[in-house]
Symmetry: C2
Subunit: 513 residues, 2 copies
């Protein structure tokens, strides 16, 4: 067995500033080298595509914001007399999708954190938007600013988290009118990774766009050339885009910032009870939203978000990480590749605790996301209870899962050295490979090293208190929060951000109606 | 929401005799409709294949049983003067592999439980051979006959378990000389599904073959035409087959019974530290074993078992469900398909508790097994702690996971009805699908129904005691064992089995040296 001291010295080298408590791989972009899994034939994908075009032509989508209707009408869509229902002929949809870039770079305030999208890159985002927070020590409670900060510290410390998406938990103790200002300032201070703003009306998204610009220390011209913010747009399924979200598209896309369009198509509730039907509706809503971004500004970066799962037909409760969710995720990838648009998926589950159920549901859909060719995994770390709770333990468990996926995506070496015929000859029948030169040369980097898994034998583990994975995750969360260090932020930028936030708070923030 | 009573009446219809406590899908064969995931190119697979042929030609494999050496020599292999080291030229290997059937039926004492192998069928076996047993109430303890029986009751009751493989836990309180007789009699009484015998020397496997024949009420001629027993052969890696296992191959294959050849190639310990090297060795050992079965009897059914995982280089402990394990499983499938032989994989993990780690490790490799085209998942339910413990809770958790995989393998309907354009039109923007005819016609069978997952909302779950998945699994295990009913067994067959066992026990059983 290699001596422990060598491993330890390597561990020290591998650490990052904020994550120095943990022996984790460095921050890096992940790229998927594998051919995606295809559940349906090309003809079947075409059938879903065509059915969704029929929905867009014959049934149409409600766009509830008059300014959006005007843009749609000008672009050639058929807008009803009442101004809400919009029908698209297939030529218009196809023409609009043509200008969507198949790749782009999302800029962070720290250029080392810039993220590329498309081209088989895979980016992991943290959990977004739960109203509750939980850990096994303090239990489940309302989302609040202190826990919001702790999640950001975890997201900054764990190299596998590429970006923060939405509020990792809602800081409900911060007034709604100014919450976006406070939370964005905090986010820029606590992490240097790319982030997002909520499309909750025009004022909020404009504030966050401005703060993203200031954080990078750039002017409006450069912002227009360099996407520096993302915002997620949920269709209000079935077949509807609401006013606050449409403002988000207009303000973000017109400035070349990144929109992801994510229909909320839970099969059996907001979408048909068949997975194919739910995907037809998802695809219709997504294509309408994608097309609209291009009508706002041709060439604006946009991501196709798949979120089709199903409800429990006994209770009506949303279910996640189901076999249907996995199928929809993989087929969603097939559809999205047809359009050449980056693809967003999610790591979701419906468990009430960070337990075995949470993990098998998460793994079910995470595998599907990875093998479906997703470019972004939303809710990558920390989502629990169908999105109603952000869990600190689940955050750590998910970080381990995402790291394992990252290691799985590292291509296997198949050189003559890798095939190791000479090592097999050296060892021969009945021997062992622990101390052969072939092993000693490679053992430090040969295998994935976990941050959470405990591979000690049962006796050692039991003597040490029989601590299960969820309780170990709790300890890691606490240790990471304690060891957290803020990333550097230019003093001038900090002052400019603080002044902006102070002014906007003085003005009353954003409307809350 | 559909009325509860309709669901309940359906639940009653779906139950099986022994599993009547549970709303589970019926016993059925699973078939994988998807194209397997391919991590390596055809050239890279060829490189591994060729490297393993070089190992067989230049280095060779030790066959420690003189009777095996004789068979190998007669078939044209190059046997060393000392009689143990055997080298194979590639022509001999290729010729030998040609006679392996790409499909076969494994017969059970109840013909409704017969299992087909090959042809993209997927069969799930229960955990095999741990020396310890655990449940969260009584803790970890030595394997024993009472728990052995309870695992068989679970395996019989859960329709997702197709077969029992080895002892689900070692009944250490039964004398080694007669353990195979007692355990096999019990197994035939408690389950009517296909089963296996251990290749622990000539006498034991001959006893179990005879009992499999009696259990089916058939003669030796029919047994020869109808495989009715499986036995697993581990290479004693690196590059060695031991005497008891070789007797197993000789007695099983000569009678046309099913052997699975499974090299025990833990990368970094018994195999090279590179995954490609470990696979080279796995493939050399597997091809040697496969070829030997055909030298014993051309056309005998045999399965290629992949078990390449890695050790923790810090401690030397075996690790399972790692990213390397997943890669080896998928690439193993690519190799096996090259030879047209059924493929065995495993559901494994290294956790000391039925917790989050156990599940993410299990899911990592189970997904790889399924998408790698495995025809048999060994240790499908109940494996814990690197195989040192059989866990009752993990058995139930795994049953849920395997059921989810089975649902994932059901092809998606993409008919015009499935695409649901008319249902989307009926509901329209802002509506919901709960009570549309399209939903009401399909809701009972639309989605996978879990046996373990709890999808109730947090408040209801918390009022009901906040029971996590592992504790729910414990309750299900207890309920299933209580509700268990023995499958019918012909009285004449029972008496013949009992008489055989009584005679063999009187004779002293099998040698224990």
């Amino acid at each position: 067995m290699p001596r422990r001291s060598r491993t330890d010295s390597r561990r020290r080298r591998r650490t990052d500033r904020a994550g120095k408590e943990l022996d984790q791989p460095p921050f890096r972009q992940l790229r998927n080298p594998y051919h995606p899994v295809e559940l349906l034939s090309a003809d079947e994908i075409e059938a879903i595509h065509n059915a969704s075009l029929t929905v867009l032509e014959d049934i149409g989508i409600n766009f509830l914001l008059p300014q959006a209707s005007e843009i749609l009408k000008a672009a050639g869509a058929d807008v009803d007399k009442d101004g809400a229902r919009v029908r698209f002929d297939r030529g218009l949809i196809e023409k609009s999708l043509e200008t969507i870039p198949d790749r782009f770079t999302l800029h962070a305030r720290n250029p080392e954190r810039n993220l590329r999208f498309g081209e088989k890159f895979l980016n992991i985002g943290s959990v977004s938007s739960p109203p509750n927070v939980s850990d096994i020590e303090r239990g489940r409670r309302d989302g609040n600013y202190a826990d919001y900060c702790d999640f950001l510290k975890l997201a900054q410390s764990l190299n596998i988290v590429h970006m923060t998406l939405g509020h990792p938990v809602e800081p409900l103790d911060v007034e709604p009118a100014i919450r976006h200002l406070t939370s964005t300032l905090t986010r820029i201070e606590l992490t240097d990774k790319p982030f997002s703003g909520y499309s909750l009306g025009r004022e909020r998204i404009l504030d966050v766009i401005e703060m993203a610009r200031i954080a990078r220390g750039i002017g409006e011209d450069l912002l227009l050339r360099e996407p520096s913010l993302t915002s997620n747009i949920n269709a209000n399924s079935p077949l509807q885009f609401d006013i606050p979200m449409l403002w988000g598209i207009i303000e973000m896309s017109s400035r070349n910032q990144v929109i992801s369009i994510t229909p909320f198509t839970l099969s059996g509730a907001m979408a048909p009870v068949t997975v194919a039907g739910a995907l037809t509706q998802q695809n219709a809503e997504a294509m309408a939203g994608l097309a609209f971004t291009q009508m706002v500004k041709a060439g604006a970066p946009v991501i196709y978000g798949g979120f089709t799962s199903n409800v429990d037909m006994k209770t009506g409760s949303p279910a996640f990480g189901t076999p249907e969710n996995a199928k929809a995720t993989l087929i969603g990838g097939q559809l999205v590749r047809r359009y050449g648009v980056p693809y967003r998926s999610s790591n979701v589950n419906a468990s009430n605790a960070p337990d075995a159920q949470a993990v098998y549901e998460s793994m079910m859909v995470t595998w599907a996301a990875v093998m479906g060719g997703a470019n972004m995994i939303y809710h990558g770390c920390g989502w629990l209870e169908g999105g109603l709770t952000a869990s600190f333990e689940k955050f750590i468990i998910d970080a381990e899962i995402m790291q394992m996926m990252a290691a799985f995506l590292e291509p296997l070496g198949v050189t003559s050295d890798d095939l190791a015929v000479e090592a097999i000859r050296d060892v021969g029948p009945g021997g062992h490979f622990f101390s052969t030169p072939h092993t000693l040369d490679r053992y430090e980097t040969a295998f994935y090293k976990p941050i959470l898994s405990d591979w000690r034998n049962y006796e050692t583990w039991a003597e040490d208190g029989s601590v299960d994975a969820t309780h170990r995750a709790h300890r890691i969360y606490k240790r990471l929060v304690e060891a957290y260090e803020q990333p550097p932020l230019d003093q001038g930028i900090r002052e400019e951000l603080e002044a902006f936030v102070a002014r906007r708070i003085k003005e009353g923030g954003a409307p809350t109606n």
